[in-house]
Symmetry: C2
Subunit: 302 residues, 2 copies
């Protein structure tokens, strides 16, 4: 047992699931939840997601040896600035934000002198439902977690954050901050944007009721991510706007070309695109299968 | 038992599933499969999907009282023209095409004198996998089937096609041809086009391997329909091109607006779109729940 006091700031789906997963392993002496909403915080305690709650930030982080910031990306900068006032110098800080460039920039603004104990992180896991009620001890099992250490990051701090996630069943990898944001813009941020936009556009059509009535399973799957938290996704889209707009531009070029092929009745061109997409997806599904169970699943991982 | 000889032209996922479902109910005396590929046809027999196979079209439809055309939309016109030579005047013809305007136009070209027994249809059911191996007797259970009768359609022919689908567990509704094509362009054809285009665009990026490697469950769901049959979807996109390009235009307007909101850092606008989409999807999911089990599930439905 190495983490004595693990403090989770923001006990929603991700923060709550991490608390449950960590408590199951027994690697932390105490898991404390903090949040801005007293109601949510109380529910986290009632649902036995955390060992204790503390609505006062200064009191919450006092004595913490690791702090996990699990709040929407848009609130990250303000949080870091508050945290900088209260944190012990050797306390490790990590986060779960879906964009890393913006989080690192916010950390550099706030933690002006001490960045050695800051380990940016991103668990690639989620659910259609959000909130502490949806928290799940197995959410990170066999899921990828990307850590994006910065030059200042202390290797021991990095090792401990990695170990925390591995205890939760995740496969941890490391990546450059910029690379993370490019990859996630393509496979996560853009698809969310497209799904939200499609459902919004159809809902504005005259016969939207009729349209949705005849939607089948394919539409339900395609639009599942449009049920995600609007505030969080607003923040993510703005935080990673440069990478997102770049990949959206690439996508729009493709869309313009298929639209032209349809208008011209160019079946050959259309089929080539569809064929290539189908093969690429098959290849991608094979990659997924190769995600191995993590080596460390006992509480000896620290 | 009213259908003595039900002939299914094209024994793939849809044709094969219909054969299995109908045979389970016992409402047809004989279900005969026809197809261009001798191998597929033989597999349909080996897998006991049909009672009999007949590789010769003239022989297959001889004595048929109902013929179901379950081939890709692009092959429909040629098939109707061949069929017109062999069909008995009172044989009912229906189809399972995803676009109805193009199918009706093809039928009008081919069946110049006799359209009373033509009942255009579209079962809204599918699977990620295609082919006779994926055929499933329960594929149409609680799924919607849309029939789009034309002015010439005989009410008795319509009643019998409706009864066939209801026997398979489907909920059957009727719709105008044009309305069908508008509704399906929005909820099926456009999402397929967007999914194919996204996967193709990402697969062309320099680090596509890395991109797909870090894709999570949301991406897998969003792109599931990009694993659909490229030839069938090429045909559908071309057959329903007018409606598809219209709804794509609406979608592109929405996408231009959200891109502008992101570029301008307009979080309020972005959140309004995301909120509206999420609420619309919740509403749509509630509609889905109201699909009731069909009234007729015994073989008395004829």
């Amino acid at each position: 047992m190495i983490v004595k006091r693990l403090v989770i700031l923001g006990v929603g789906l991700i923060g709550g699931s991490l608390a449950l997963a960590v408590r199951k392993t027994g690697v932390c002496q105490q898991v404390v939840g903090w949040g801005r909403s007293p109601g949510t915080l109380q529910r986290a305690l009632d649902l036995q997601v955390v060992d204790a709650i503390e609505p006062n930030l200064a009191a919450a982080v006092r004595g913490a040896d690791m702090v996990v910031v699990a709040i929407p990306p848009g609130a990250m900068q303000g949080m870091f600035q508050e945290l900088a006032k209260y944190l012990a110098p050797d306390a490790i800080v990590t986060d779960v934000g879906s964009t890393k460039g913006s989080v690192v920039a916010a950390a550099r603004m706030a933690f002006t002198t001490e960045l050695a104990h800051f380990v940016p992180g991103h668990p690639i896991a989620g659910k259609e439902n959000s909130g502490v009620e949806a928290a799940d001890a197995d959410l990170f099992q066999r899921k990828r977690v990307i850590l994006t250490p910065i030059p200042e990051t202390n290797p021991e701090a990095l090792r401990r954050v990695r170990a925390l996630w591995e205890c939760c069943g995740a496969e941890v990898s490391e990546m450059e901050v910029e690379h993370h944001d490019t990859v996630l813009a393509a496979t996560s941020h853009l698809p969310h944007l497209l799904a939200f936009t499609l459902v919004d556009a159809l809902a504005h059509m005259d016969d939207s009721w009729e349209i949705f009535r005849y939607a089948a399973g394919g539409f339900r799957d395609f639009t599942r991510i449009a049920s995600s938290d609007p505030v969080m996704w607003r923040d993510i889209c703005l935080a990673n706007r440069t990478e997102l707009l770049t990949v959206l531009g690439r996508y729009n070029e493709g869309l313009t070309q298929v639209a032209a092929a349809i208008a011209a009745g160019d079946g050959t061109r259309l089929q080539a695109v569809f064929d290539h997409a189908r093969k690429a997806r098959e290849h991608f599904l094979q990659l997924e299968v190769t995600v191995q169970a993590p080596k460390n699943t006992s509480n000896r991982c620290f």
